[in-house]
């Protein structure tokens, strides 16, 4: 790639970054009417949180069980204590699976839905209609989604942690890979409460990224149905990349 090509790509990235922060600045203004804001917030909490609960529950339950069985399969060394599977399941769920992997799954479900909703509103001129009425469309449409995501996704993650650990417990009952008592002992062994703080801090940041990056791509969709699809894909791809990047940064900062 020529130096000009690299420059053009860098300029493009900086332009999008600038537009993203300008959108956030418009979003974080005082809503026209708090009553309408709270009405929209409750709708978004239902769409982002309540409607994702079933998916998160099923995934976490099965993943907890799988982590336990895989740990038992790998920890066959007599030097490794029998309760290590419980520790591994707990820490895997708390540190990585629930906050990061569930948020990445939510990018696919919630992020694409936010991008396609806003993209459709853009191409059918509904956003223009709001602007003509004198409504700040970013504040009206995007802010409730970001606030709802930041408020409700941590609860989904707490539910995921609990269900994942419960999934491991069920696996001890169904399979004979680990004894239930050893698993429960392992869950309690060397528990660091700070892991919950770490996981929830990551979750809040990821929730903000997944809602705002998806909203940015949807809000700036141009053209027709094809572009709405593209904006939805871009929302998922970029949210995923940014979340993975921040996962590394936050892990380094918080667990150093």
């Amino acid at each position: 790639m020529s130096i000009f090509g690299k420059n053009a790509r860098m300029i493009n990235i900086l332009t999008h970054l600038g537009a993203y922060f300008l959108m956030l600045r418009k979003a974080f203004t005082k809503p026209e009417k708090m009553k309408i804001f709270f009405k929209r917030l409750s709708v978004e909490i239902e769409l982002i949180g309540v409607d994702s609960l079933a998916l998160v529950s099923i995934l976490s339950l099965f993943m907890g069980a799988v982590i336990l069985i895989q740990s038992a399969y790998n920890f066959e060394n007599p030097l490794i204590p029998a309760y290590a599977e419980g520790v591994a399941t707990r820490d895997s769920m708390l540190l990585e699976f629930s906050p990061t992997i569930i948020c990445l799954i939510l990018v696919g479900k919630v992020g694409s839905s936010i991008a396609s909703e806003l993209g459709t509103m853009r191409v059918t001129e509904q956003i223009d209609a709001l602007q003509i009425m004198g409504v700040n469309p970013v504040n009206h449409l995007v802010l409730p989604k970001i606030v709802a995501g930041v408020l409700i996704i941590p609860f989904l993650i707490l539910a995921s942690m609990t269900l994942g650990i419960f999934g491991g417990y069920l696996a001890t009952l169904i399979t004979d890979s680990v004894s239930t008592n050893k698993y429960i002992y392992g869950l309690q062994y060397g528990f660091v409460p700070y892991y919950i703080v770490y996981a929830l801090t990551k979750t809040v940041v990821f929730a903000f990224i997944l809602t705002s990056v998806s909203a940015y791509h949807g809000y700036n969709a141009k053209g027709g149905a094809l572009e709405v699809g593209r904006s939805s894909t871009k929302a998922v791809v970029y949210s995923t990349i940014v979340i993975i990047l921040f996962n590394l940064i936050l892990t380094k900062l918080l667990l150093n």
């Binding site: 209609a129 602007q131 003509i132 004198g134």
Partner: protein
Amino acid sequence: MIEIGNISKVFGDRKIISEVSMYLETGKVNMVIGQSGAGKSVLLKCLVGLVETDGGEIWYDGRNFTDMDYEQKKELRKEIGMLFQGGALFDSLTVEENVAFPLEMFTNMSKSERLDRANFCLKRVNLPNSNKLFPDEISGGMKKRVAIARAIAMNPKYLFCDEPNSGLDPQTSIVIDNLIREITLEYNMTTVVISHDMNSVMEISDNIFFIFSGQKWWEGKRNDLLKADNKELCDFVYASTFMKEFKDFRK
């Protein structure tokens, strides 16, 4: 009254609008006509501030719109009603909620007052029994009427219509045209209609502005249009066989 002074708009290296000036009268239907791609819709978007102009001025009853900041524009926009090509109704709201939306956003009316006003507007556009339907449950013509009802809910001083007849059958088109004209007179609004439908032009226009290649090529009244000898205008007006026959008949 809206005055436009030498406004221009450039996209990349393409000049879409080139120093257009107009005087849009209050209580009249001001029609902007021209071929597809002539720059009519961009002109309309410049007028309402959806697209920033690259030069010139727009005055709304003595208020310079081009010099206003975001908040001032937001205030002025409360006096503007707009009818979009596809209606631009909010999918998640019922017909009644769509009409009541600006009232809920900008007034302190109670819910019953808002619904009364929404029902009044819906009756005004001859849609009395569709309140609880969603936009995807109504026809294209009904959507346009709901959009007009929403546009007039706040008693606007200015009404902008972007191709109000696109996608409608001739009978429904006439209903929408007449509604726009009646409402303009009833509320004494400054109405701007973008169209390339000659039926609409002949039905409801008071002032006509012909845009060609981003420039104002011609302006005049309905009767002047048929006498005009401007080549580009004549090519546009008499493009259809019907209009050609009409011209021959007049001769």
